[in-house]
Symmetry: C2
Subunit: 357 residues, 2 copies
Amino acid sequence: MECQLTIVRTEQKKEKPALDKLGFGVHFTDHMFTMDYTEGKGWHDPQIVPHAPLTLDPAAMVLHYGQAIFEGMKAYRNKAGKVLLFRPEQNFKRMNRSLERMSMPQVDGEFMVDALKQLVALEKEWIPAESGMSLYIRPFVIATEPCFGVRPSHTYKLIIVLSPVGAYYANGMEPVKIYVENKYVRAVRGGTGNAKVAGNYAGALKAQAEAKEKGYEQVLWLDGVENKYIEEVGSMNVFFKVGEEVWTPALNGSILEGITRDSTIHLLKDWGIPVVEKRISVEELYEAYTKGQLEEAFGTGTAAVISPVGDLNWNGHQMILNGEKTGPLTTKLYETMTGIQYGEKEDKFGWSVEVSE
Amino acid sequence: MECQLTIVRTEQKKEKPALDKLGFGVHFTDHMFTMDYTEGKGWHDPQIVPHAPLTLDPAAMVLHYGQAIFEGMKAYRNKAGKVLLFRPEQNFKRMNRSLERMSMPQVDGEFMVDALKQLVALEKEWIPAESGMSLYIRPFVIATEPCFGVRPSHTYKLIIVLSPVGAYYANGMEPVKIYVENKYVRAVRGGTGNAKVAGNYAGALKAQAEAKEKGYEQVLWLDGVENKYIEEVGSMNVFFKVGEEVWTPALNGSILEGITRDSTIHLLKDWGIPVVEKRISVEELYEAYTKGQLEEAFGTGTAAVISPVGDLNWNGHQMILNGEKTGPLTTKLYETMTGIQYGEKEDKFGWSVEVSE
């Protein structure tokens, strides 16, 4: 790979949006990172350039056969002015697993983390320093060859765009209502569920829309084989506090290996709370609920960090969790995780990576 | 919808490629059709414009969450100079089913067939009149809104590009070697298998690559639940001649509803051959093979029309079909179907649609 990173600065910086109007992934910074892949040549021409539209052939394979993968991460700026990334090397490791599953070429993770740091340093003033706000980072890789043969593309583009995002919980954490999905399936073993692949997300929209019509914010996905075992909630991993334990579905090939999931498990174990990774049937969960043992439930993901679940509907069986209020463990996890992310709490696992100027 | 189709002709026509160098989906004609969708306004601005690159925001949803569907069909030009489409209304009906599954807006099928006819008429001289050659037609719809929220896009683009394609069987029909896939899964009930969705194709590349390493050209996909019942072959539907019957997997929600599949069933029934649409386990197929009843196997799809299977490998059990030669029924189906497509055989079902100038 040609490792020389070229930087072309924009001639006209954009006006920054008002902090109370940030939303999620709507506004973009002045620059982006791009790098090209050509079969036989490998990755080449890494560069930081002004954020601009892409020119794609209408036959570009990504538009037809969905060879596209992405990552999601954040940069945080704290009161002291420090800019921090959270376990960025994990994102590029997972990117490589996603690329492998989609028959796409591997990237050099170390080079990518370094390039990302340079991009974030350049865009430092775009990172809101307010509590809960951050700079969302979206690395993605797309197949660009214009050809209708059903085979892997011979050319790809890796791009990183940055978007300042508002606080996920602008009005405090509000537990969500979840519908246990029994018609649509997100993923099945042997499929692409454990890769961060574009198609997984489009395929999930219909179930989400139907749940919304029923008054629920998201769905709880069950396994594709038996339609019985819990996999994910919306586009997050899911955890349940059952008595003194915390349960989460074991990674089985169709569940995404969340980095927030992994961090949550580390924190819980560090606190002496037993974490049980296993196959969890909805029946078993409902049984725990009827016995009064299901105390809290929450999703984990980059956007929300920790998202409390207040209400679960399984075929009409309703489970109300912690009186539809955010539970104490959920709150502690959220505060600890975001505290580490903003460099305000002890980072005993060495997760935070500082971006120097 | 605004139904006024605008036509902007190219100022410089491209040089046409040599007929022996056409390939599949590599060369494109002078013009394309485009139409935009905006939430609250519907589809608007249908136009035929010079074939040109697209400008897409790097945050366009199609590149991240895979909201993209497509169709594939062909225009044929026969010796008498007639230009014919094959059941085009079926493609736009299926397009609407795919759009629905992906939470994307419906199109007006009649309007689309009419617009397509105008586009094909304009590009008539791009259609090779040689035997087996045709003009491949690729309508597709992509989500264009630049936003990272995981929800349906509020804007879309529908595009039709045209590509002159060479004969699929330049050296006569050659039966392919197929590996029965037991690790990867293409689709599962409740998923997106019966929609013509971008992500289905990228997800299938890895299995295809591994089959090639083992010396096979394609895979035979089994169902995602039990890994036992036959679904598709490569990106085609599949048929088996067993004794006096022809078997094909029944549509079950995870199998694509092929238009060539449907046409094949019509022809066979018309010939008095019983077609059995049912769940077919590989075991049952292998049993028929060991009894000497499995006489022919073939895939059906737009690109190949009919593709003979000569060799099936199921966990080391090898099935050699018709001495690895194209069987008589496979040949008859290919000749009849292409004869109708080129307007050279009786079209008793009224499948051919003439494009007038």
